[in-house]
């Protein structure tokens, strides 16, 4: 085994630069695909990826990762988690797989574009491993939920959701198309690798893994940490690019890319991580609140990495710090109220004990969001189920594609503008800023309400909307995860009062 140390041959192996003679540099690396306009040509060869790995090491390590995850799954398959776990936990699995698996496959295209279009040879080399990583994530997160399909047809959404026009899928696709699929290689790396992967995926893939282990789902816990160990490596692709921009007078452009990607990622994760962490994870196994996980992974860890590069907090930092205590509570009320539009069964998470927890983690919750739940619970405890699902659609943000929510009587308001004769609505000042910064990018897209009003959805009623979104055809829609069993304590209160 007289192999050379990696460091002794690595620089030669990744040096794949050459001077094209039959095409121009811009034909080889078209600016709209490669990015980095204004950076000096000689800079690309200096790109030095911080996290290095050889192909030999990669294959060895990835084989071990897969062996670890698959063997845990195989060992626990007979443990019958599906029937033994809390139904709220099963809902987390349904939401996660459908929102994530095919997106991972998309991410392999993102990395493949780096392999071809990045002007930095070191990045092309490392992105090859990133591409393989993401193929693994797509495959493994389709394979793992497959064992549940025969038990519960909502798991079909794991594969189908991203092909549908379900509103959550519309939001996720709009986000990933924006940050991952439709920008030049340099910008995409800052949007997706740096902002999304080193920042937000930690929340879901590490934060939730602790809850998973405590909930007895060691398979999922192992799986998502295994995936994140790939992310921790290839997410490093963006850091040298940021340094290059900053050192060449493009700090403002770098900051703006982060500011856009950070907000868009955050808002998506209010649905993906925020709701499950604070409402679906069984109370007894909650490691921390969504806000606490945000403070650990984003407010502290991610912001420190920004600061270390000489960059600043996003301009909307104050808005963001307020928002992490409220936005996902509104989105939970929305998803629960319009539960027939979901591909999973939402857990209400508002039993008296859970409300105490929410009040402790989010002081004032009972006086704001809790007041809305009082009305919902009163209807449900009294059997007025027809009053618990609204008969109209929510207004939807033209950037995030999520319902426009806010703290009742405090922060809920419409933020809109008219652009070339069309009125656009936004769920925050930041979403509006993102639109205004590049209206050409966003103006043509129609959100669910635009499609409804424009006649794309027929019949133009809730039944038509459900069918348009694939509910009942792709797979069944949502109902209370616990079959309303949590209402018992409220019914007892009613009986005592009566």
């Amino acid at each position: 085994m007289a192999l050379l140390e990696r460091a002794q041959w690595y620089d030669i192996a990744r040096s794949t630069e050459w001077a094209p003679r039959y095409v121009t540099q811009d034909e080889l690396f078209p600016p709209e695909l490669s990015g980095g306009e204004g950076l000096p040509d000689e800079i690309w060869a200096t790109y030095d990826e911080p996290y290095k790995i050889s192909y030999r090491e990669y294959v060895d390590i990835q084989r071990q990762k897969d062996a670890g995850a698959y063997s845990v799954k195989a060992a626990l398959e007979r443990a019958d988690l599906y029937n033994k776990a809390d139904p709220g936990w099963i809902s987390i699995l349904k939401e996660h797989y459908a929102a994530v698996a095919l997106v991972e496959y998309g991410a392999s295209f993102q990395e493949a574009r780096f392999v071809r279009w990045s002007k930095a040879p070191g990045m092309r080399n490392m992105a090859t491993f990133g591409m393989l990583d993401e193929i693994r994530h797509g495959q493994i997160q389709l394979f793992f939920p497959h064992e549940y399909v025969s038990k519960d047809r909502q798991f079909e959404w794991s594969h189908a959701a991203m092909w549908s026009d379900n509103w959550v899928a519309l939001g996720a696709r709009h986000f990933f198309d924006d940050v991952m699929m439709t920008r030049d290689a340099l910008s995409t790396s800052i949007f997706a690798n740096f902002s999304f992967e080193t920042g937000f995926t930690n929340l879901q893939f590490i934060g939730l893994s602790g809850d998973a282990a405590k909930a007895g789902d060691f398979t999922f816990s192992k799986l998502i940490q295994s995936i994140q160990s790939d992310e921790a490596r290839h997410a490093q692709l963006g850091t040298p690019l940021l340094q290059m921009l900053i050192e060449n007078g493009q700090k403002e452009q770098a900051q703006k890319k982060i500011d856009i990607a950070f907000w868009r990622s955050y808002r998506l994760f209010t649905i993906l991580s925020g709701i499950p962490m604070d409402y679906y994870v069984p109370l007894g196994v909650r490691e921390a609140s969504f806000k606490e996980f945000m403070e650990e992974w984003i407010v502290t860890q991610f912001m420190r990495s920004l600061e270390d590069l000489g960059l600043s907090k996003p301009w909307y930092w104050d808005i963001f710090l307020r928002d992490i205590s409220e936005h996902h509570h509104g989105q939970h009320l929305g998803t629960y109220s319009w539960r027939p539009t979901l591909w999973w069964d939402p857990a209400a998470g508002v039993s008296p004990e859970e409300r105490d927890w929410l009040e402790e983690k989010y002081p004032g919750w009972n006086d704001t969001f809790g007041k809305v739940w009082d009305v919902l619970i009163d209807n449900m405890a009294n059997g007025r189920m027809d009053r618990t699902v609204p008969g109209t659609l929510p207004m939807v943000c033209n950037v995030s594609q999520l319902p426009i929510v806010g703290t009742p009587s405090r922060t809920l308001r419409d933020i809109s503008l008219v652009h070339e004769g069309r009125r656009y609505h936004f769920a925050s000042e930041v979403d509006k800023w993102i639109f205004q910064d590049d209206p050409e990018r966003y103006r043509h897209h129609k959100n669910l309400v635009d499609r409804f009003l424009g006649g794309d959805i027929q019949p133009a009623d809730l039944g038509g909307v459900l069918e348009y979104m694939g509910l009942g055809t792709v797979g069944p829609g949502g109902e209370d995860a616990h079959g309303f069993a949590w209402l018992d304590s409220y019914r007892k209160q009613l009986a005592t009062a009566g």
Binding site: E5, R6, A7, P50, Y51, K52, I53, E57, D60, I61, Q64, K65, G68, N202, F205, I206, S209, G210, A212, A213, K214, S221, Q225, Q228, S229, E231, A232, R233, Q236, T239, E287, E295, V299, T300, Q301, M303, R304, S305, E307, D308, L309, G310, L321
Partner: protein, 112 residues
Amino acid sequence: MTNSERIIDPVGPVLQSGEVARAVADAAVIDNAGHRVEVRDRGSYVRIEVADGECILRRATIAEELGRPFKMSELELIMPSFVGRIETGSDVFRFFHTFQQPAGAGHEEALS
């Protein structure tokens, strides 16, 4: 964390709890002598935090703590995240910040 003094400018790996994580934590204490090292247990993962913006991990030290041969690339198997920038050699991993955070500064305003 029971220690009342906040650790200054911590960097280091976030590791899946288990045997290797414990060995890395012990190795971190040895390889970063003179710097405060905290191990924060977060259930399924641990944060190994070395103060003052630099954390060195040596293959030989980890192997000694583990009592078996160890390749640095194996660390990736249990490392879903890390704090700081990274340098990845065959014998040493280094986590570091280039910009020294002033004592007492940071993002604690949201944590109070």
